[in-house]
């Protein structure tokens, strides 16, 4: 049996909110979510703001501490791993943030920004070797090595995001969490970066967790996709299964909300309302107040994931007889 | 109305000609808008599409005369209802804005004063225009009907709420209500859905489209998203580096794009198609030019696969290749 690269079970992340005299209700950003990832696979996580997708992505690599649940990475239980142990494993798990303007240390030169992971993990012996490796990485992400001694503010948004990618691939990780890596960029730059990320993946065999609110981008990048709503995964499956045979009413809503670049395909949605506050989500199924198919039970029963077809899971009472 | 003579003669709400707006920057003049001409008819909707630095936002804000202090109007005119907005006095402008000419912004939270209830905000807007002589109860009725128009559930309650008690989508609806309150001649929407989630964006786009049809609203919609533009416009102007590259009916832009930039831009948008995953996304090589010293000739030529020798030298003029379809590209100069 092949070991999964990453296996996160019943992961929960609650944020305690500041309360002066008493504890107030925590924000349940992620509430009992399980995901797994094979080596070399791309898992897309799609959801709207407040769905918990970014929190989930950061929690599985322990940049945010999970409240409960279990995470196994490369066969090692890292849920309670100590700082020192974790630091060694960080070589294998990296992140690229959304905002290229805040994810690079403004007081470091590009050579050091990309070179730090190499130095930390002892992958280069000398300053000269570091410079050579960084120059190579710059070329790999499509940047000119003349940028070596520049500072981040001298670079455009697209260039900075390439630097972020170079930093992430520097220690040859097994997993990179890509947190909306192209959302802050223009479409023409986005296309360049998505293609770069695909090329890097096929060259290095690295796995991605690709987080985005943009369904088309997630579809383009992912092998499997999980749809999140209010801290839970409502549906997951292969990219094609999920987008060409969506089962959950929320997935269907999302898909029909995409403004198509085609004036003949006008948006026609009937679902109103907005996602609930993560402090006090509705009882039962969290989507029921907006769901056109909602039944009496949806207010009471929190639906469990049901495997409707092989690898296609949906958490919706409409499918409970298929369990 | 002193300027109704011209208004009656033409169906044109807005005509911009030869507009140039530069910013004084640390590294020299930034040519944000550099010779833009367009017009918009009553009841029609124009989307201005472009990437960052294309000048679309500057153009939109110039129509409202909402430009930062380091902006210089280097030429051209903006004729709104027969009068040049650029030469109006502050007093005349004040009478125009929020009344004949309105705007909806990207960040709904930033556009609402947090200390006023929705009711008093809308009342202020109405009193400026058609609510000037209304009684309190008439005003309230008018506000409720406005909120209904923008599909806000339980409008009576919302009037008594503060902005922070509303979600982003609801705030944007309130701002749209304010923008249509006095039956404006033109509404400018600057990326009104970019800060919203997809499902909420879809609702707002649908709403704007409805309002446009029902109220005969003229709309200028500024967006970076061609998908959004497709949903709300009759015409699209594609901007690049301060210039309009192509201006055409929306269907023509998507079906028969003429300018190489437009057709390449269309191919960079990911869509949910199986073939796309296999073929890969087309990308435009290179990056946006530095607007303090834009490339000579056609500004797109350094990135254009069709670039010819002349493209480095000649700045292309708009050519009407089909009725209402303008393209600024030397490939079409024999059609002029």
């Amino acid at each position: 049996m092949s070991e999964k690269l990453l296996n996160a079970e019943s992961l929960t992340v609650h944020f305690a909110r500041a309360g002066f005299l008493r504890r107030s209700h925590p924000v349940k950003a992620v509430d009992g979510v399980s995901i797994s990832l094979n080596a070399g696979e791309v898992l897309g996580i799609v959801g709207e703001s407040g769905s918990g997708k970014t929190t989930l992505g950061k929690a599985v690599i322990r940049l945010i501490e999970p409240t409960s649940g279990r995470i196994k990475f490369m066969g090692i239980d890292i849920t309670r791993a100590k700082e020192r142990e974790l630091r060694k494993l960080r070589k294998h798990m990296q992140i690229v943030h959304q905002d290229p303007y805040s994810s690079l240390n403004p007081r470091m030169r590009i050579v050091d920004i990309i070179g730090r992971p190499l130095v930390i993990h002892g992958l280069v012996g000398s300053e000269k070797e570091k410079r050579e490796r960084v120059a190579e990485l710059l070329r790999k992400v499509g940047l000119n090595e003349t940028l070596l001694f520049r500072f981040p503010h001298e670079l455009s948004g697209g260039q900075r995001q390439r630097v972020s990618i170079a930093r992430a691939i520097a220690p040859m990780p097994k997993l990179i969490v890509l947190d909306e890596p192209t959302s802050a960029l223009d479409v023409s730059v986005q296309a360049q970066l998505l293609n770069l990320l695909r090329a890097i993946r096929s060259e290095l065999g690295v796995s991605y967790i690709f987080i985005s609110h943009d369904l088309s981008v997630v579809y383009y990048m992912s092998d499997r996709i999980a749809v999140m709503y209010a801290g839970k995964i409502v549906e997951s499956g292969s990219a094609d299964e999920l987008f060409f045979n969506p089962l959950h009413p929320y997935t269907k809503l999302l898909l029909s909300s995409i403004p198509q670049p085609d004036p003949k395909k006008r948006i026609d949605i009937t679902i109103e309302g907005e996602p609930p506050s993560p402090v006090s989500p509705p009882p039962g199924c969290r989507f029921h107040p907006r769901c056109p198919m909602a039944m009496e039970d949806c207010r009471k029963v929190d639906p469990e994931p049901i495997e409707v077809e092989k690898g296609h899971f949906v958490s919706c009472l409409l499918y409970r007889d298929k369990a | 109305m002193t300027y109704s003579i011209q208004e009656s003669r033409t169906d044109e709400v807005l005509r911009i000609s030869g507009l140039k707006i530069y910013y004084k920057g640390d590294l020299g003049l930034v040519k944000a808008v550099d010779g833009v001409s367009l017009s918009i008819n009553r009841g029609s909707s124009l989307a201005i599409v472009g990437e960052s630095g294309s000048g679309k936002t500057t153009l939109g804000h110039a129509i409202m005369r909402l430009l930062p202090y380091n902006a210089v109007i280097a030429g051209g005119e903006i004729i709104f209802n027969g009068r040049n907005v650029l030469s109006l006095s502050k007093e005349e402008l004040r009478k125009l804005r929020g009344y004949r000419l309105t705007m909806v912004f990207q960040e709904p939270s930033a556009a609402l004063n947090p200390v006023f209830k929705i009711g008093s905000f809308l009342k202020d807007v109405l009193k400026k225009g058609k609510g000037a002589s209304m009684s309190e109860s008439e005003l309230k009725e008018e506000m409720i009907s406005l909120l209904r128009k923008v599909r806000i559930p339980s409008p009576e309650e919302v009037l008594n709420k503060y902005p922070h008690e509303l979600s982003g989508g609801m705030k944007q609806r309130v701002l749209i209500a304010a923008a249509i309150a006095n039956g404006p001649d033109l509404m400018i929407a600057d990326e009104p859905t970019s800060a919203l989630d997809v499902s909420v964006q879809a609702q707002i786009l649908k709403l704007l489209d409805e309002l446009r049809a029902k109220m005969g609203l003229s709309l200028i919609f500024i967006t970076h998203n061609l998908g959004v533009a497709a949903q709300v416009s009759d015409q699209i102007a594609v901007m690049y580096a301060g210039k309009i590259m192509e201006l055409a009916p929306t269907s023509s832009i998507f079906e028969t794009p003429k300018h190489p930039y437009t057709s390449m831009l269309l191919k960079t948008i990911p869509t949910i198609r199986r073939e796309l995953k296999k073929e890969g996304l087309a990308a435009i090589p290179g990056s946006l030019p530095d607007l303090t010293s834009p490339p000579p000739g056609c500004r797109f030529h350094p990135r254009c696969p069709m670039a010819m020798e002349d493209c480095r030298k000649v700045d292309p003029e708009p050519i009407e290749v089909e009725k209402g379809h303008f393209v600024s590209c030397l490939l079409y100069r024999d059609k002029a």
């Binding site: 960080r90 943030h97 690079l104 403004p106 007081r107 001298e154 930093r167 | -």
Partner: protein, 288 residues
């Protein structure tokens, strides 16, 4: 350490320097401050007479070619005393600010970086200290420790401490939660490395701005303490003490207080202008 210094200085590239040079406050304030520092450093060379010994037969002479600012009641040359006074003010202000930066910024920055109970406790103390008027704190320290140059420096250091602690904490917290610090954690950086390579260099600019502004206030406080007799003791030439000595001769010898007064005002103005200007240029929230 050189890497740290380099990281502090180099990104202040041409653009920033240009912005600094174009800022009128920075320019005017900078010139005033530079003149002040030059006088302070060069005082032994440029002062025509001894600042502490005078000729009683020459007492209370109005300005003349021999004594451009006149002489005081002990016959000392006021110009020389004003020049040496710059040195005292510089020592007091720089010494006091150095103490408050070292204590305040390190304790505040550390509290912000660690967070949790330590942070709550530190900020509790800081907020209590902030509840007292500055001058009261300084008076208290000066009264407890007694007069003298070192004690004035200590008083200045103590009364500036809570402000620096709070500013440093705020700066550190905003940097600590930034994406690039998270990315550094993801790269496997150790906590101390994150603090010295990422947090510290990026928290400096608000502290620098505040230090400039507080220097102005500290010079005034030092003068105030000396004026009240709690600061630098005679015969040390201190501007506040000089003005205090002039109290008995307000009408008879206005030059005794006018000249130190003018220097005091110009110096404080210089630091304030420089601080405001730096704030405009370095603080990203104020848009240009």
């Amino acid at each position: 350490m050189s890497g740290f210094l380099e990281s502090l200085l180099t990104p202040q590239n041409k653009m920033l320097l240009r912005k600094l040079r174009r800022n009128k406050n920075v320019l005017l304030g900078g010139v005033l401050v530079l003149i002040f520092i030059a006088i302070a450093i060069l005082s032994p060379i440029i002062s025509p007479y001894s600042p502490t010994s005078g000729n009683l037969s020459e007492a209370l002479r109005p300005p003349s070619s021999n004594h451009p600012f006149g002489t005081d009641y002990l016959g000392r040359d006021i110009l020389s005393r004003v020049i040496w006074g710059a040195r005292i003010s510089l020592v007091v202000a720089v010494g006091g600010i150095a103490i408050s930066i070292l204590s305040g910024a390190i304790i505040g920055g550390f509290a912000g970086y660690i967070g949790g109970a330590i942070d709550d406790l530190t900020m509790g103390v800081v907020n209590i200290l902030l509840a007292f008027p500055d001058i009261l704190l300084a008076l208290f320290v000066a009264a407890v420790t007694g007069p003298g140059l070192e004690n004035v420096i200590l008083a200045i250091g103590v009364y500036n401490f809570p402000q620096f602690a709070r500013i440093a904490r705020g700066a550190v917290i905003s940097v600590k939660t930034s994406d690039y610090v998270e990315a550094a954690r993801a790269s496997g950086e150790t906590k101390s490395s994150i603090f010295f390579r990422y947090v510290l260099p990026n928290s400096m600019s608000p502290i620098v701005v505040h230090a400039t502004l507080r220097t102005a206030a500290s010079i005034l406080t030092a003068a105030g303490l000396s004026f009240l007799g709690l600061g630098v003791q005679p015969p040390t030439p201190e501007w506040g003490a000089m003005i205090s000595e002039a109290l008995y001769y307000l009408d008879a010898a206005p030059y005794m207080w006018v000249f130190p007064g003018i220097f005091l005002v110009l110096t404080v103005l210089g630091f304030n202008l420089l601080g405001d200007g730096l704030n405009d240029v370095l603080n990203p929230r104020i848009k240009d």
